[in-house]
C-alpha cells in the first residue's frame, strides 16, 4: 500500500447501546486533526539475574486517549456533547435545540433517550486502515475562535481499540460558524442572566471545561479499561478586549461575578431565530485575573482576563446549547 495523506482519512461516530461495545459509525465528522491512541504502560521486569537490563515484558492495562480538533458544526456537535459529562435535554420540532448543563456523574455511562449521556464508538480510518475505539467519552473540551471560525478540541478517553470493517461515509454539507456568526454578551451573574446589547470589543473567546476524566482499570481478565471516571469540573472563559472602562477590572477587585455568553449562529442573530448555532454561556464567572498594561508605544491597550466558572445556587454554572438539524432520539 502506498503512503497516505491525512486528508484521505475519515472519522465516524455512533452512540453505543452498551458501553464499550462497538457501534458502526452513522455520523461522519470532518475533523481538522485527531490523535487518538492506544495507551499502555507495559510492565518491564527488573529481575536481578546477573544482568543490568530488563529481562522480560508483559502487557499491561491500556486505554484510549487523544484529542480531536474540529470546526464547530452544529450538524454533528450534539453527538460530542452527549458523550461528555453533562445533563442533556432536547426541545423543538426540527431544527432541535440541545442544551447541556454540568452533571455530577462519577463515571461514564450510556443509555437511550435524549436526556441521558452516552458513550460513543469512534471509527478512524488512517490510510485505509480502520481503528475502532470503544467506550469513548469527552473528558475535557476547549472552544476557541480562530481566524474568525469557532473551533473546538475534544479530549477523548476510551476503553478499548480493535480493528473494524471499513465504514461507508455519508458527509453532510459543512455548516461552520464564521466571523459573521459571533456575538459576545456580558451581564450580571444569575441563574438566567439578563444579557443586553452585544459587546463589540472582544478580541477572541475561549471556553474550556475539564471534567478530569481518567481511565480506570480493574483486575479482571481483560487489559482494556473498565470505565472512565470523572473528577472535579474546572471550567473557565478566557479572552481579551479593548480596555475602555474600569468596570470589569473593578468587578475583579471586588470579586463581583459576571455572566458571559458567546452566541454563534447561522441564519439569525439569536439561537432562537437561527437555523443552527451554539451558545457557550457561563452564568457565574469570577475573574481570576484581569490584566491591563502599556505593552509598548505602538500596542493597543487591551485587557486580558481569565474567568473561572463557578456554581450558582438554584441554577447551572454554565450551559451549552446547540441548534442542530440532527434528531437524536
Amino acid at each position: 500500500m502506498p503512503a497516505g495523506l491525512g486528508g484521505g482519512g475519515k472519522v465516524g461516530i455512533a452512540f453505543e447501546t452498551t458501553m464499550g461495545t462497538y457501534a458502526a459509525p452513522t455520523v461522519f465528522v470532518p475533523v481538522l486533526s485527531e490523535s487518538l491512541k492506544y495507551t499502555e504502560d507495559k510492565y518491564y521486569s527488573e529481575q536481578i539475574r546477573q544482568q543490568t537490563i530488563v529481562s522480560d515484558v508483559k502487557s499491561s492495562y491500556y486505554h484510549v486517549e487523544g484529542d480531536i480538533e474540529m470546526e464547530v458544526d452544529p450538524t454533528n456537535h450534539p453527538y460530542w456533547l452527549y458523550a461528555s459529562r453533562h445533563t442533556p435535554s432536547k426541545t423543538g420540532a426540527g431544527p432541535f435545540v440541545y442544551k447541556f448543563v454540568p452533571s455530577s456523574a462519577g463515571s461514564a455511562s450510556t443509555a437511550a433517550g435524549t436526556t441521558t449521556a452516552k458513550t460513543i464508538s469512534i471509527t478512524v480510518v488512517r490510510n485505509g486502515i480502520v481503528f475502532g475505539y470503544t467506550g469513548c467519552v469527552v473528558g475535557s473540551f476547549e472552544y476557541t475562535i480562530e481566524d474568525g471560525v469557532l473551533r473546538c478540541t475534544m479530549s477523548v478517553l476510551g476503553l478499548a481499540e480493535a480493528v473494524q470493517s471499513a465504514p461507508t461515509p455519508t458527509w453532510p454539507a459543512p455548516d461552520l460558524l464564521g466571523a459573521d456568526a459571533h456575538h459576545v454578551y456580558l451581564a450580571a451573574s444569575g441563574v438566567t442572566p439578563t444579557f443586553g446589547a452585544v459587546d463589540v470589543n472582544f478580541n477572541g473567546f475561549t471556553f474550556r471545561a475539564n471534567h478530569n476524566a481518567e481511565a480506570q482499570n480493574r483486575i479482571r481478565a481483560d487489559r482494556s479499561a473498565s470505565y472512565i471516571s470523572f473528577g472535579v469540573t474546572e471550567a473557565e472563559i478566557e479572552s481579551e478586549l479593548d480596555f475602555l472602562t474600569r468596570t470589569d477590572y473593578d468587578n475583579m477587585v471586588a470579586n463581583t461575578t459576571r455572566a458571559i455568553k458567546l452566541e454563534s449562529t447561522n441564519g439569525g442573530g439569536t439561537l432562537a431565530a437561527a437555523t443552527s448555532g451554539i451558545i457557550l454561556q457561563g452564568n457565574r464567572v469570577s475573574y481570576d485575573a484581569y490584566d491591563i498594561g502599556l505593552e509598548g508605544m505602538g500596542d493597543l491597550i487591551m485587557a486580558g482576563f481569565t474567568g473561572r466558572i463557578i456554581g450558582i445556587a438554584g441554577g447551572d454554572a454554565y450551559e451549552i446549547s446547540v441548534k442542530s438539524p440532527a434528531a437524536i432520539t
Partner: protein, 81 residues
C-alpha cells in the same frame, strides 16, 4: 439499469443533503448515477458504488453498473499501480 443510491438516515430530516464521495443525495431520496458519474466514482475509489456502499445501513444501492466488466476491471487495475 444504472446504479441507484438511496439515503435513509434516521437522525436527519428529509432532503438533508449528503455527500457520498462526491455524489450528492438527499435524505429519504434517491439518485440514479449516470455512466460518467459511475466512472468518476470508480476512478476515485477504485471500487464500485456497490462495493463501497453495498453493506451500508444508511445507503441502499440497487441496479447494476452501466460500465462493462472490462471497463470496471481496467479502471480498478489502474489504481493498483
Amino acid at each position: 439499469m444504472a446504479y441507484k443510491l438511496e439515503v435513509d438516515h434516521p437522525d436527519f430530516p428529509k432532503d438533508f443533503e449528503f455527500d457520498l464521495d462526491g455524489i450528492l443525495v438527499k435524505n429519504k431520496g434517491s439518485r440514479t448515477l449516470t455512466e460518467d458519474e459511475e466512472q468518476a466514482f470508480l476512478s476515485k475509489n477504485f471500487r464500485t458504488v456497490k462495493e463501497v456502499y453495498g453493506h451500508s445501513t444508511i445507503v441502499k444501492v440497487t441496479g447494476t453498473s452501466e460500465l462493462s466488466s472490462k471497463e470496471v476491471k481496467a479502471i480498478k487495475e489502474g489504481g493498483e499501480g
